[in-house]
Symmetry: C2
Subunit: 388 residues, 2 copies
């Protein structure tokens, strides 16, 4: 086996979750997933396709009608995007992997903004890249912020690819329009590709954009810019387990991406794509309800956490996580394991996302029943009270 | 974009199929897919899972009960195989890609037996490998055969990975047990990994094995051998469009494969895995019917083709293809395009599978209605008669 693969870290989130296996009394907030089932009309569309016998291979790049529906949806959020720039993928993570395969040769320099979902930094390593990271900075109020001059200085003509996830998993940090413009301008100078993981764009709570979605590189880039933007049906349509996403790319990349899709998964199942068509057709009823509920979850959880002595956190502008640290606990993996074992509380350790996030914990607040969040905070409070 | 990706050939099969677009009068035999819908009980299991709300993330390596069911199924064919050696993947092609990611560093030497499905040779190139090929040899009767001494000599300590697809797409060539033993022995000497694409194992017509399946490397290897064997639900269960397969690997590789799955697609949809469980539970009714029908297709098509003046082909021992050449036509791409345009007959050009297969055509005989095959041969016969 390749040393590059042996070197990849196993998920520290899963390490904590495994420590809670068989414990029915643990409240799990460790994974990045809502506990709500996919809306019925979306499931019904897949059922209808299965009953109609849509069980054959399909287009590498996705059903033409789904690519068009995605382009229409994205155009409403970000301005005109042609269907020829869209590829349907087997999940957002698959879209990210395909982009990395397309762009990164072994030995290439890849730059990532961290802390970040570990898949984003693992993928370039699988391709044999040389990975460098620019760390966000924790602020006194518990929010994280970008050191823009440091990032711009780190982007050089040797930087093949810049990976940015905004709204960010795990910190909730979200790029401002001005930051995006500065990054895009710098990458145009250096010839650097931008891989923008924007799967949380609809889970945005600032209300300072016309569409309501988080600022996207697609808002400011032209079609031929060196940009691949990745999306997923998981978050805004409650479709995590369906494994369906898409990417938006320059038109010249599309035929090349068709080849990579063929050689990776060939295509997404047609009946899954039919479900996605139903989801997009009903986004105006599905997505606002999800976002309003998540805002309620965030606005329930964060003040309760902030009221716990020693806890530091800030209401995230985007995403579905609270990211917190607790005075006196610097080893997040040990802390997360203790919280599972001693408090029945399942959180993800910050160290899973970057060394600089050790000492932090990620709490997914996508809970259908808001009372579960209150119950979780009470468990944390009780446990901390017992630490003397 | 990477030069390695730009260099990958676009599918010449698709090039021919595109030439027939909008032509409802073309009989399509170009793709490797049956025209039968997935059996109803298999679809019903997915429908039930969707209705029950199984729409969440699942285990990277697959549902434990599906891994066990696959292990039981494979053990019946090949002797004891533990569930811990199984990973569920998003199609056979995805299993192959994961194996290549696991084993091939940029610059490594990869050896492939050709002609072969082009995905198998494209995947190592995506990882930056140095690809070498050993060509099967066409025989006077239209069958293809392995030059075993040439292959054994080509496997050296520098050979990181040997890729073999048997039963072979497109030629139908199938490794004998003696050939497998010689190859395994040589790879043990050189430390070479074997990637065995055995997705056609059930479509085997010789009847000279106890299980009825084609000889498999799994029959003769021990668990810790450097072997990854790839399977799919597509062929033996009529599940092409579901994108579900599996691989069998040494137990020490399993945790590493879990990581690669996480970073590629995370998991296969649970409702798709439920369908696979239903398929495996009913393999004794589903698969023999499929194989008997394909044998009938083969035994209808091949004698008819052999009776056409100038056509050379042989009944394949495995797979679902007739591979044929026609005297006087050496450019298979041009010939395939002319057959679409002038005869309404859709075949795949041999050059799509290797340069040495130029002049050959692949005909997928997986046709629910055997009369379509007769009609296709008549079109070929009529067209050839008109060529003077």
């Amino acid at each position: 086996m390749r040393q590059a693969i042996l070197n990849l870290e196993e998920s520290k989130i899963r390490e904590v979750a495994n420590a809670g296996m068989g414990r029915a009394d643990v409240l799990p907030f460790w994974f990045g997933e809502s506990d709500e089932i996919t809306p019925e009309p979306v499931r019904a569309a897949a059922v209808a396709a299965l009953q109609a016998g849509e069980t054959f291979y399909s287009h590498n790049l996705g059903l033409p009608e789904l690519r068009q529906a995605v382009a229409d949806y994205a155009s409403r959020l970000h301005g005109p995007i042609a269907a020829e720039r869209i590829a349907i993928t087997s999940g957002g993570v698959n879209a990210l992997m395909l982009a990395v395969q397309m762009l990164v040769d072994a030995g290439d320099e890849v730059l990532a903004v961290t802390p970040v979902w570990p898949n984003l930094t693992a993928q370039p390593l699988i391709l044999g890249a040389h990975l460098r990271c620019v760390a966000l900075q924790p602020q006194p109020d518990g929010a994280w912020a970008l050191d823009l001059p440091a990032l711009l200085a780190a982007i050089t003509p040797q930087t093949r690819l810049l990976i940015v996830n905004s709204p960010n998993n795990p910190t909730g940090w979200t790029l401002s329009r001005a930051e995006q413009q500065a990054i895009l301008a710098r990458c145009r100078e250096t010839g650097t590709w931008i891989l923008a993981d924007e799967v949380y764009e609809r889970l945005y709570y600032r209300g300072d954009t016309p569409s309501g979605a988080a600022p996207s590189f697609l808002d400011i880039a032209v079609a031929d810019d060196r940009l691949v933007a990745v999306q997923s049906f998981s978050k805004a349509f409650l479709m995590t387990g369906w494994r369906l996403g898409w990417l938006t790319m320059p038109p010249a990349m599309t035929p090349q991406m068709g080849k990579l899709l063929e050689f990776n998964t060939s295509c997404a199942p047609v009946f899954v794509q039919r479900a996605a068509l139903a989801a997009l057709a009903q986004t105006d009823t599905i997505t606002p309800r999800i976002v309003a509920h998540l805002r309620q979850c965030r606005d329930t959880l964060v003040p309760l956490l902030q009221a716990v002595p020693g806890v530091h956190t800030s209401a995230a502008p985007g995403g579905m996580y609270a990211f917190l640290r607790i005075d006196g606990f610097d080893d997040s993996l040990a802390l997360a394991k203790r919280l599972v074992a001693e408090a029945g509380l399942g959180l993800a350790p910050g160290v899973a996302f970057a060394p600089e996030a050790d000492g932090w914990l990620r709490w997914c607040f996508a809970s259908k029943d808001v009372a579960r969040l209150r119950q979780g905070v009470q468990r944390l409070r009780d446990w901390l009270a017992g630490q003397g």
